[in-house]
Symmetry: C2
Subunit: 392 residues, 2 copies
């Protein structure tokens, strides 16, 4: 098969707020080859990501992503790896390329799986898709009381595990953060799995982050996620050495497999959280999963957008039975649910799994794009480089 077309659909809520909620817009990718169609999603700023696909070449290793993708042969997983290597080399000086390629790569696995009648996880080498324990992923409340109530609500909704993130954490002192951690525990009850995400708020300040450890331990948090920026391996490593009970988690910012491996090796994280919409898709994510297994680190997906992205991010560790916990967005904005015809639902035991269906196994309803489609036009030298495709 030849890749005949790659189309980008930029979807957005009518109003986007400064809330740390990545489900407020979406960049869906549709790839076509040999009569098959696959979908993927970039977890990325839509406009720069589209520009990275269509922009004029700057020089030999600053080429648009489209130049490495369109017209290429795709008959097996090796072709996806080959195209990935070409993107990495020919676009080495185009920073945004990794985010753009991530959604395209996903779409190619979806397409290839449909062509072969096989789930992507099977093409990745797994023989089954194991059940995962979804954690409800949500923000911290504005007040500890709200944090407590939201925890109770998630338990009532059947979630055994809940992750709180961002919001007021790190904005005031350690005492204020501790109040939220303890409120979260109270809301979840003694047997709930508590996960805490602080969204890089401590920069590279190891002492500030370490000051939160006693409260996290007292609250029985399983992990302490993203205390620092994604490149602060030394800060991660220093905090990991101070923390025996609560493991560090991180990796969502990785835009290639090496970054995630470095966070494991130098940063000492116990949980490697990978977003297939950023790391370059399923291929490099699977490399990280294999690496994590070898290092005794637990692989977890990072997903805060649609169930298309959720399925993609489940594939690379679908076959790892013991890597059981997974992120599951519970308060997504309508823009990220409107186009998902077959969401990934919890079974009676409260678990989810990567679908046992061809490709990513999530049916897309393009009619769901319509209310949210952002009308974009990019022109250079009078030539139209991009215009939002028509739907339906």
């Amino acid at each position: 098969m030849k890749i005949e077309a790659v189309d980008f659909f930029y979807l957005s809520m009518p109003e986007v707020t400064t809330e740390a909620d990545g489900s407020q817009d979406a960049l869906v990718v549709r790839a076509a080859a040999g009569g098959f169609v696959g979908y993927g999603e970039c977890e990325a700023a839509p406009l720069p990501s589209i520009a990275a696909f269509v922009c004029p070449m700057s020089h030999g290793v600053c080429r648009p992503v489209g130049a490495s993708v369109l017209g290429q042969t795709i008959d097996g997983p090796g072709d996806i790896a080959r195209i990935a290597a070409q993107v990495a080399y020919d676009s080495m000086d185009l920073l945004q390329a990794a985010h753009t390629w991530s959604g395209v790569e996903m779409a190619l696995w979806d397409l290839l799986g449909k062509a072969r009648g096989a789930p992507a996880w099977k093409l990745l080498g797994y023989d089954r898709s194991h059940a995962k324990t979804p954690y409800a992923s949500q923000l911290f409340g504005d007040t500890p009381q709200q944090t407590l109530e939201w925890g109770r609500a998630q338990r009532a909704a059947g979630f055994r595990a809940v992750k709180y993130g961002w919001g007021p954490i790190g904005r005031a002192g350690a005492k204020e953060d501790a109040d939220h951690f303890m409120a979260a525990r109270e809301g979840l009850g003694p047997d709930g799995i508590l996960l805490v995400d602080t969204g890089q708020i401590y920069g590279e300040d190891v002492d500030a982050a370490a000051a939160r450890l006693p409260a996290l331990e007292a609250a029985g948090a399983l992990w302490f996620e993203e205390p620092f920026n994604g490149h602060a391996y030394e800060a991660y490593g220093a905090l990991a050495r101070k923390s025996s009970k609560v493991k560090l988690a991180g990796g969502e910012a990785a835009h290639n497999a090496a970054m995630a491996k470095h966070l494991i090796d130098y940063g000492g994280v116990g949980y490697a959280q990978i977003d297939c919409g950023r790391i370059g898709g399923l291929g490099p994510a699977k490399q990280v999963a294999d690496y994590a297994v070898g290092k005794g680190v637990t692989y977890v997906n990072h997903t805060f957008t649609s169930h298309l992205a959720l399925s993609a991010s489940l594939q690379p560790f679908a076959g790892l039975k013991d890597h059981r916990i997974c992120e599951y967005p519970v308060k997504p904005k309508p823009v990220s649910t409107a186009f998902i015809a077959t969401p990934i639902r919890r079974n009676s035991g409260g678990d989810i799994a990567a679908p046992d269906a061809p490709g990513l196994g999530v049916a897309i309803d393009e009619n769901g794009f319509k209310p949210y489609l952002v009308d974009v036009e990019i022109k250079a030298q009078g030539k139209l480089l991009y215009r939002t495709p028509r739907v339906g």
Copy 2:
């Protein structure tokens, strides 16, 4: 002063080829505040970089770069660092932001220096700008004979040091590469300083790169630049341990200070090559220079574009007397010279230095933009997000 405006000028040769020559296009940034104007240059794909400044917000930490810059106060270097931190945090999920910000940051140092009547290197804390030995930076010839002749030509033009890069290297075997290295030495004569840049061609293949070491040693190369991709710290480290006479050089891909420090710490490079048009501008580059000094590593600029970018990239190590070698593009395309009213020329001894003049000390002639200005228009939801500014 308040930052009133930031304008982007996308310039390009009429035809751009796949040659590894970064001077075929340019993205010049103009910032205005308090009646002063400063210029900078992103070493980046122009269209995605512009998009990263003007795009709609995706969520709280995926904001356009413009949102962190426009209207901000700039009265001293601390303000530039503050804005940099805000860009890093508020655009943490916008990958291209670092490249966009790099040119803006440069423009702010230029502007601030002009407002204060001080060179940027003085604002960075140096008390003088030391002479540097420029190396002529060019590609390898298509044949060893061409490589030899180009070396002779650069010596005849007064360059004591010459860097060869890319071209046919690594495309055939170690023998073919060796022929080029020896031809380069012959062309330069026994006392010429020979630098070799292989443009990531060996991927992460340590053995392939190590197979080139004997010829590099025999040719008396000072450094072996970018054997691997910018994140392959382990490959760099392994090769560094095999190489006693020829030091490794790398770092141009760093889009933040941490990446460059990691290449020093984990990759074992002896030369840290920093492009201010990618790493986030002069501020993080100066951090790397300070770090390199502490680690016994030599700081070098990476510059393959205009003399505006050259001046910017000289500033962070202008005051380091012993870090003497510097990159000097010798075959730039006309687009990257047309707008430079005061190029940085070699003195009678063949040396150059960061200008002793306010800001970056390079006068810009906007009339030089005109023949190369790319007419761009970006619209979303009927709203004009960007249009190429008029010149003159």
